[in-house]
């Protein structure tokens, strides 16, 4: 009898430990190409450090015709995407979903949003301003960025790993992927979620607090 009791206790304990170990410090992966660097420790020994891929310095006009750079996002995590205002295919769904995330983290000053237009011909800041206003998100928390074709397209493909391009055969004139890319406070990519897929958008909503928790320690 006593033996059985001990046995049950042991199993319960193991289960509790197992469950709590699963929950604790779930960490988001770090994406992108990695490099290594040999560094010198203060005591003269050497060690190898990992260099992660980061978002390089950028400078774009926002919806208020003001230049924004990385410094706007210092100390913030942010969700970035690529779209254009006259897009009738996936952009409305992406921004419908992105807006629900925006609403959820509206009062959290550590979370920001950055949408880059890929329509360098038509989407001037004034058009972006109108769009942001109509979407109901006009404010400093959600930045809409306008830049030259080269600067935006290179940034999308090389840094955010999102494919974008001009396509004259497409009715809207452009093709692009609908990823919402999660960037941490150290400019590293921590997640990419299909902005047209409700399950992945829900996952992003869960992952933002996980990423924020990393910086709380």
């Amino acid at each position: 009898m006593k033996k059985q009791y001990t046995f049950t206790c042991a199993i319960l304990l193991a289960a509790t430990l197992f469950a709590s170990s699963c929950k604790e410090d779930r960490k988001l992966p770090i994406y992108g190409v990695r490099d290594t660097k040999t560094i010198k420790n203060p005591d003269g020994t050497t060690a190898v450090d990992t260099i992660y891929q980061t978002i390089p310095a950028f400078k774009f006009l926002n919806q208020d015709s003001v230049y924004i750079t990385n410094s706007q996002f210092n100390g913030k995590i942010y969700v970035a995407d690529f779209f254009f205002t006259s897009c009738t295919s996936i952009c409305p769904i992406m921004h419908r979903n992105m807006k629900t995330i925006f609403e959820e983290f509206k009062n959290n000053p550590d979370v920001m949003f950055l949408s880059h237009t890929i329509d360098f011909k038509y989407d001037k800041p004034s058009v972006l301003k109108k769009y942001a206003h109509k979407l109901g998100v006009d404010g400093p928390k959600w930045q809409f960025a306008y830049g030259s074709r080269d600067s935006v397209y290179t940034l999308a493909e090389k840094s955010y790993l999102v494919a974008v391009n001009v396509d004259s055969t497409n009715r809207d004139g452009y093709v692009h992927q609908g990823f919402l890319v999660l960037i941490d406070k150290d400019r590293r990519i921590r997640g990419a979620y299909d902005g047209t897929n409700p399950e992945q958008v829900a996952q992003l909503k869960k992952d933002i607090p996980v990423l924020l928790a990393e910086y709380k320690k």
Binding site: S89, P92, R96, H133, K134
Partner: protein, 140 residues
Amino acid sequence: MKRKYIIISSISLTLISMFYSCQTAETVQKDTYYVNGRDLYIKHCQNCHGEKGEGLGALTPPLTDSTFMKANKENLACIIKNGISTPVTVHGKVYEGKMPEFNLANIDLAQLIVYITNAFGHKQGMYTNQQVEKDLKNCK
């Protein structure tokens, strides 16, 4: 006695359900149009107008204004087929901007219109190919 009761009740139940499952040919056709129209809606319209016809901010008007849908029923085919770039007032709010054209066949337009005028809280009934043809002739 009890057995007889069970038999009678099951027979009458069958008869009643048979009676109620009988539909007129028109209802069957309307339902077919509605279901096909829903597929077309998901494919062509839902991006902007939303799953429940709720629209998107001030960018895309909702399709839930019954007064608008009724007053503009003859224009719906034209709006879908040719797009629209003049402002529209829905639920008392003015929506500017452009809706692109969707060059669909008349039968598809009819099915789509049956769906959007019977979903989202509307109940406007059947809308036929002939009506589409007639309405398209009067496009502005």
